[in-house]
Symmetry: D3
Subunit: 328 residues, 6 copies
C-alpha cells in the first residue's frame, strides 16, 4: 500500500544517508512561517525557549537536537502498525522566533504564531494539529491559549515530574513551573478532564498536589504506578474524555526517569519508564488529539543525544495516534 | 503548618535561584568542624576520600558534586509526606579533612571526626545522627567505629553490588572492599541483624558470599529481587531489627544499576532500580536509624551530574525517615 | 577447588591493579593470529569494523573499549556459580585485521580468519568456540559463513532492536542491516530454529517483520515482553533447539534499552532490560553454543564506558554458559 | 613575612585537601549579603545570570564553577610576587539573587546589590573593590551604574571578542551585546579613557567598530596584536589613565581564544592568548582599579573545568593588582 | 550600503535567535540537488563521508555540526572588511548523497555531483565556486576530478598535517591519505603550483615528503614556521600562482594544532595556529579561487562544538576571499 | 634503509588498522616484568599511580590512555629525521604493579622494579634506558633512586608548572609535590646540573622557587619564555651538562599550557607551548639521556584523548633523541 502521491514523505535512508542532509524533523520538507501551515493535517513546530527554566538551561537547543536525532526514525511504526504518512500531510514548520531576552514577549510571540497557524485552512478544512518540539514548559501556556481560542477549553493529558501549578516563581507568574495554574485561571482547560501523570519529588508543601486536585484534576504520582502497566489507566482516560472532546497532550520529558532521559533541566529520581511513556501515548489513539508537545529536552546535559532521540520518538508516536492515521 | 522559628531551613528557590549561591547540602547553613554539631538533630558530613578504591577514582569530588546537585531538592517529601525541617535541626558540617596521601591516617582522622561529633550534646540531649556524603566505601569502617563507641554494636542495612567483606585487597586490610569484614572482627555490628541487598557480579569464589552468611548476615542478591517490590523485605527487616536497636544504613550507589547511577567506580550490571532503592530507604521509617552514608559517587564518570543528583536525593530520603520526622 | 595448572587465568587484581597492565579481554593472555587458537576451548576475538553502519560510527573502537572495561570482571560468576576458567582453556586472540576502506574485502578477511580459527585443533580435539567483540553487525555474516562450513547450518538466537534482514541498504547487499537475510539465502541458518528477541522501532513496512516470519523465524518484539521475565521463553527455546544442535548467539547491544546501553549507533527506545538480557544468555546453558558475538558498542557515544562494560559482562556471561563450564 | 592576624586567609591545602570543603572563591570565608561587605578591602561577588545571552546559555553556573576550580589557587603570586592576603581584607560575598525570569528586574537587583555594597564602609574607610564572577556580560551595565554613582564616570579596560555596543538585540536595549552602548548613553564612562582589546569576528556592518571609535574609545582588534606582547600597550594605557582615575576592568573570557577558553557562549576564533591576558591584567598594576569582572564562563561547554579555572585565575590576578597589594 | 535585493542573505539574529531555526550553513537558503546551483556565484556543499579515514571516524557528522555552529557568523568580516553577501549569490546546496558502504561508489557519486554542479550556468555565466563541508579528505579527489574537467589542472594550496600522497593504504589506492598522489597521477594539478603547509608528525620514511617535492610541490613543514607570520609566504604564493590560474584550496582542519582543533580524526601535535590559518586564507585574496574545502572535522571528538565552529569560520573566510567580494 | 631484522618494529597500519589490536605503546611487542628487559636498548614502562596527587585524580589510567593514543605514531620522525627503530631494540614492558592503597609501598615497588630492570644486561651490555608512562609525579622519586644506584647522581631536565620541591604536603614527605626535594636530600641529583622549565602559578611563599635556586638549580619560569624559542636555552643546557653525564628528563605534562594539555590534575594557566616542549626534547639530542618520564596525564579530564596523544608523542620524541638513534 502506497501513500497518495501528494503527501510529504520523510526522506528515505536509501536516498540520503541518515547522517546526511540538513536536519529537519523526520527529514520532512520544511517551511518557516505559521502561514505555511495551510493544507496540512499536522505540523511539527519548534519553540527554542529556555528562559522560563528555574535550574539548568539548554532547552533552547532542544528543537535542533530533536530534529537531528529524528533522522533515525522511519515512516512505519512496527509496534502499532501506524502509518501516519499514508494519510496525513505533515511538514516541519521550523521554529517560532521567540525573543530570548523577554519571557513575557516570547509568550506573546508564541501564542501569536499558533493563533496564525490554527487560522490557516488545514487539509480538507480541518484545523492543523501542531506537535511542538520544546523548549521549556512555559510554552504550554501560550500554545494552550491559541488552542482554546480555536477549540474552546481542552482536555489535558499532562506527563511530568512536576505539577507545574505554582502560583508564582520568584514572584513571577509566567515561568516553566506555572503554566497549568494560569491555564486553569484563564479557562483554557476542562479541569475535570485533566490527568497529571508521573508526579514526584519534593516541594514546599502538600498543596503542590492539593491545588490541582481541588480543580478536579486526576493526579497519578509516579510511585503509585511503579511496576505497573499504564494501559488500564489509559483505557479509563479514553472513556472519561471520549472520542470527540478536543484533547491536548503535554509531555515533559522529565516525567520519565533520568535513566532514560537524563538530558533535562530539573530531573527527578523515581520516574516513569519508557514503556510506560509509550503506553500513555499509544493509549491516546481514539482521542481527538488536537495537538501535543514534548518539552524540556536540554542538549547540553545529553552528551550522547539519546534524550533528544527519545524526545523525537515520542513526538513520532504522537503523530502515530492522531485521528485519521491508518494501521497497516 | 510552619516549622519552629529556630530550625534551619533550606534556602528557598524564591530567595535565591537554585543555581546560585555557595553550594551547601540542600542549601542549609554550614559549619566546618565536628564540634559545631552541638544542638543538632542530624548533620550532613562530607568525606572526600577516594584512595581506598580499587578501580576508577573520583569519589573525592563526591561531596562537592552531591552538594551542588542537592540544590534542586525542596523541603517537603511529596511521596511520603515527610517534612524533616519542621522538627529537626539540621546543618551541613562540611568535609572531614582527610589525608589524601595515606589511607591509614585518613581512617584515623575520620573516626576521630565522628567520635568528636557524637561527643557533642545534640539537640534535646540526643546524639546527633550523621548522614555522610562519600567518598569511597572505606569510610564506613571508621564511621562504624565511632558509632559503636557511642551506641554499641549496630544493626546494619547495607545496599551494595559488592559484599565488601574481603579479607584483604592487594595485601591491605583497609580498602573499599573490606570494611564490613573488619567491622565484624572488631565487634562493631550485630551480625544477626545485618542485611546486604543488591549483591551481584563476579568474584574469586563462592566464599565472597559464604563468609557473610556464616556471620549471620542475610544476603539479598540483586538477581533474586529483579521484578520485585522490596516493600515486603523491608517489613521483615523492620520486624527483625525492632524500633529500638541502633541501626546504621550504608548505601553504596553501585547497589543501583548503572543505568541510573553510572557515575561510580566499580559499576556492576543487573542492579537494583531506583524505585527499589527508595523502597529500601522509605522502609527504614520506624527503625532507630542512628546514621547513614551514601558512598561511591564518582563525578568524573557522571557527565550530566545525574548520579550525584540521585545520591543527594537518597540522602534526603534518609533524612526523611529519621526518628522524629513528622508527616504532613 | 583450583583449576588445572595449565589453564589460562585472568590476571588477578591482587597481582596488578585492575586499571594497570596492557588491556586484554578479562586480562587473559593474548595471541594475535587465528592460528594460535590451537589448544583452546574458547577464544575472544575482536573485529574492529564500523563501515557497515548506517548511522553513528565508532564500533571500530568497540573491541578496545570492551577489553579495557573487562578489567573489572573476576573469574567466578556469583549469580550462577559458573567457573569457566576451572575447565576451559581461553585466550584473547586479538583483532581481525579488517580493511577499513572496503566492506567487501573486510567481510572476506573476517570469514577467512574464522575459517582458519576453526580449522585449528582445539583443546581435546573439539572445535574452538569463538566469542566475538564487535564491531558492527555486518560481521555476523562472515562469522556465520565460517561457522556453517564447520558445523553446518546453525540454530540462532538473535537479540537486537532490528531484524537485520533488509534486502539491501542504499543498494548494497552487505551492510549492518542485512546479515541475516544473506545468511538465510546462503543456507547458513536452520530457519526453524531462529529467534529474534527485542525487535522494535520504525521501518518502511510491516514486511520488515513479515519476511523473517515467513522463513520460520520466531520473533519476540520488545513491547510484547515489557514487564516480563524471559526465563520461560528461554526454556521453550532450549527445548526447541535441543542440546546437540549447533547454536550461535548474536547479541546486538541495541537490543537492550538505551538507558543501559546508550553507547551504540542506532539506538531504539523501549528495549529490553539488562535482567532480561542476562536471562537470555544464562538461559542458553544447556545448548550447544558453538560461538557468539556482542556487537554495536560504539565508544564515542559512551562517555562513561558503561556500555562497553555491559558488553564485556555479556561476553563473560556467554563464556559462562559454554558447554563444559562447571558450577561451583 | 606574615599577614596581619585579622585578615582572612584562603584555607590551606594542608588544612583541608583542595578537593574538600564547601567551595567558596579561593576557599575564603563567605558571607551572603551585600551589607556584609563592611570592613572589606575587596570582595568576590557572583552574578549567576545567563538570560542576557544571545546564543549558548550556561553562565548561570559560572560563579559555582569558578569557585570550585579556584580551589587550586594558593595565596602568593609566583610570577609577580604579589601577596594580596598580606594586606587586604577579602571575602566571598556569595551571589546576587537575580530573577532568572526577567532580565529587566535582574538588572535592577544587581545594581541595587552593588549600590548597597559600595554604601558599606570598607576597611579604613575606603570603598570596597568588588571583583565579580559572571554571569553573562549584561551584568556590566548594572555594576557600572553603581560604580558611577559612587566614583563618577570611570575609565574602562574592556577585554572581549565583541564590542558589546549594539543599539539593541532583537529589539531589546538590555542584553549581553549592549552594555557599553548604554553605559556611554548614561554617562557612566570616561569615553576618552576606554580601551576595547581583543575585538574580532563578524558583524552586520563596519559600524560595529565605528560607533565606539566615534565615542573616543581606543579599539585593539585581536588580529592587530597577534604575535605581540601587550606589555607596551598597557604602559600606554597606564599613562593615559593615570594612577588616580577610577578605572574598571571588564573581562569577557571570550576575548581569549577558544583554544584556552572554549567554555563560553559566543566563542570567536583568532583571539588573544593567555599570556596576553595576563599581560593586560598585570599591566593594570598602578591604576586605581575600583572593580572588575570576569564574565561569560559557561560550564556546560567546559567539560574539563579548565575554562572556569582560567576565569578563577584571572580574577585572582585582578586581586593581585588592586591598590595596596604588596610584593614579596 | 545595502546588497542588491535579489541576493540571498543569512537569516539575521534579529529575525530568529541564532540557536533557532533549521540549521543551514550560515542560515542561508538551502536547496538539495546540484542542479539547483544555477544562478549562484558560490555554493556550500556538504559531503558526509568518513569511511576513508584510517583512525577515528565521525566526519560523516561534520557537515551537520559545521552548519549548526555556523549560526554564530554574521555577514560582514570585521577584520578584513569583506562583505560577501553584498555581491555574491550564495546558497547551501545540502549534502551529496554518498553511499556510506562503499568508498569507491561514494567517490563516483561525489565527482558526479560536482560535475553536475559545475555544468549549471552560474550567475552571470561564470562557473559556480563550491565550498565544501567535509567529510574526510578522500573527498578532495573526486572534487578535483570535477574541477579539472571544467577548469583544467588547478593550482593547489593544501593545508594539512599530512601530505596525503601515500601510494596506498592497506593496499587501497583510494583513502583519506592518498588523494593528492592520485590527483598528480591523473593530471588534475599543476604540480609546480602546489603548496603543502603545516606538514608534520611521523611516517614510514622520508619519502613521505620526498615524493611531493619530486613532483614540484613546495612543502612548508609546521616546525619551520613556528613563531612566524605566514603573510610573507602567502605573498610569494600569490605571485607564483598569479591572478588568473584556477586555484583550489584544500584545508584539512588537522593542519591546525589540536589545541584549537581537537575534534578531528588523526590529530598531530605541533601544528599551525589559527592566526596562521587565517593568514593563509586571507592571503588567498587576489587568486582565482575556483573552490575550496574544509575537511576532517569529527564531531564525536568535539564535545564543545568549537572545532566545528572553527571549520565554519574558515569556510566563511574562504567565501570572503572569492573573486568579486567587495570590501566595505 | 631497513632496520636489522631482529629489532622490534611497531605494528604497521598496513598490517592492522590503527584502531585495532591490543593497545601497546606504539604497537610494540610487550612483556610484563622487569626481568624481560634483557637485550633491550630502551623500554617503555607504565606506572599507573595516582594516589600521590593533591587534586584531580585519574593518572592511574594514564598509561592505558597513552598506549591507546600512541597507535597513531609511525616509526620515522618527519621533522628531525630520527629513525629509532632502525638501531634500537625497544619493547613495552607493561605496568609496574603498584599498590594503590599505599603510597609508601608503591614507592618501594616502583624503585624495586626499576632496580631490577637496570640490573638486566641490556643490548650490547649497555644499561636499558627506561621511558616511563605516568602516573603522577610521585613516581619520579623511586625511579631516580634506581637510576642513581646504577648511574650515580644524574643531571636533570625537569619540565613542569610546579617545582615539586615541597618539604611536605599535608605533613607527608612523599607525594607528587615533593620528589625533587627528596631527590636532593638523598643525593640522587647533580644539583648544579638541574633545570626546571615552565614554572608558574601560585604558592605559599617565594621560597617555593628560592629553595631550588639555593641548591644550584636553574629555574626557567614560563612567563620569562613566553614568545620565545627554547632552542638557545637547550644549547646552553647541552653545553653545561656535556655529552657524558648521565641525564634524566622528567616531563610533567602540566608544564605545557592547558590549551594543549587540559587532561591533567593540577593545571596552571600561562604555560609552555607544544613547539617549546618539542624544542626541549629535541634539544636533548647529544646528551647521555639515561631515562625519561612523561607524567600527570589524567584521562578522566581528557574527553578527546588529545592530552594522552600529546603524552604519547612526547615519549616518542624522547625515544628519538636517545643515544644511538640514527637520522635518515
Amino acid at each position: 500500500m502506497n501513500p497518495p502521491p501528494l503527501l510529504n514523505q520523510p526522506l528515505s535512508g536509501n536516498a540520503m544517508p541518515r547522517f546526511g542532509g540538513v536536519a529537519t524533523m523526520m527529514r520532512l520538507p520544511t517551511a518557516t512561517t505559521a502561514t505555511m501551515a495551510a493544507g496540512l493535517d499536522a505540523a511539527f513546530v519548534g519553540v527554542p525557549l529556555d528562559i522560563g527554566t528555574s535550574h539548568r538551561p539548554g532547552t533552547r537547543f532542544g528543537p535542533r537536537a530533536i530534529r537531528a536525532e529524528s533522522a533515525l526514525i522511519r515512516p512505519y511504526n512496527l509496534a502499532t502498525g501506524a502509518a501516519p504518512f499514508d494519510a496525513l500531510q505533515v511538514a516541519d514548520l521550523g521554529d517560532v522566533p521567540i525573543n530570548t531576552y523577554s519571557l513575557e514577549k516570547s509568550v506573546e510571540i508564541i501564542s501569536g504564531f499558533y493563533r496564525d497557524l490554527l487560522a490557516q485552512p488545514g487539509r480538507s478544512g480541518r484545523l492543523v494539529r501542531p506537535l511542538t518540539l520544546g523548549g521549556d514548559h512555559t510554552i504550554a501556556l501560550p500554545i494552550l491559549r491559541a488552542m482554546a481560542e480555536h477549540h474552546g477549553p481542552v482536555a489535558l493529558i499532562h506527563v511530568d515530574a512536576h505539577a507545574d501549578v505554582n502560583e508564582d516563581m520568584f514572584g513571577e507568574r509566567i515561568a516553566h513551573g506555572t503554566p497549568f495554574r494560569r491555564a486553569v485561571e484563564e479557562g483554557l482547560l476542562r479541569s475535570d478532564k485533566v490527568w497529571q501523570i508521573g508526579l514526584r519529588g519534593s516541594g514546599y508543601a502538600a498543596d503542590d498536589f492539593d491545588w490541582p486536585r481541588r480543580q478536579g484534576f486526576t493526579l497519578v504520582p509516579a510511585h503509585e504506578v511503579w511496576w505497573t502497566s499504564l494501559a488500564p489507566l489509559m483505557a479509563q482516560i479514553r472513556q472519561a474524555i471520549g472520542p470527540e472532546t478536543p484533547c491536548y497532550l503535554s509531555f515533559d520529558i522529565d516525567g520519565i526517569d533520568p535513566a532514560y532521559a537524563g538530558g533535562t533541566g530539573t530531573p527527578e529520581i523515581g520516574g516513569l519508564t519508557v514503556p510506560q511513556a509509550l503506553e500513555i501515548i499509544r493509549g491516546c489513539r481514539g482521542l481527538n488529539l488536537v495537538g501535543g508537545d514534548l518539552v524540556e529536552v536540554s542538549p547540553p546535559y545529553d552528551p550522547t543525544g539519546n534524550t533528544a532521540l527519545l524526545g523525537a520518538n515520542l513526538l513520532y508516536e504522537m503523530l502515530c495516534v492522531l485521528p485519521g492515521v491508518p494501521l497497516r
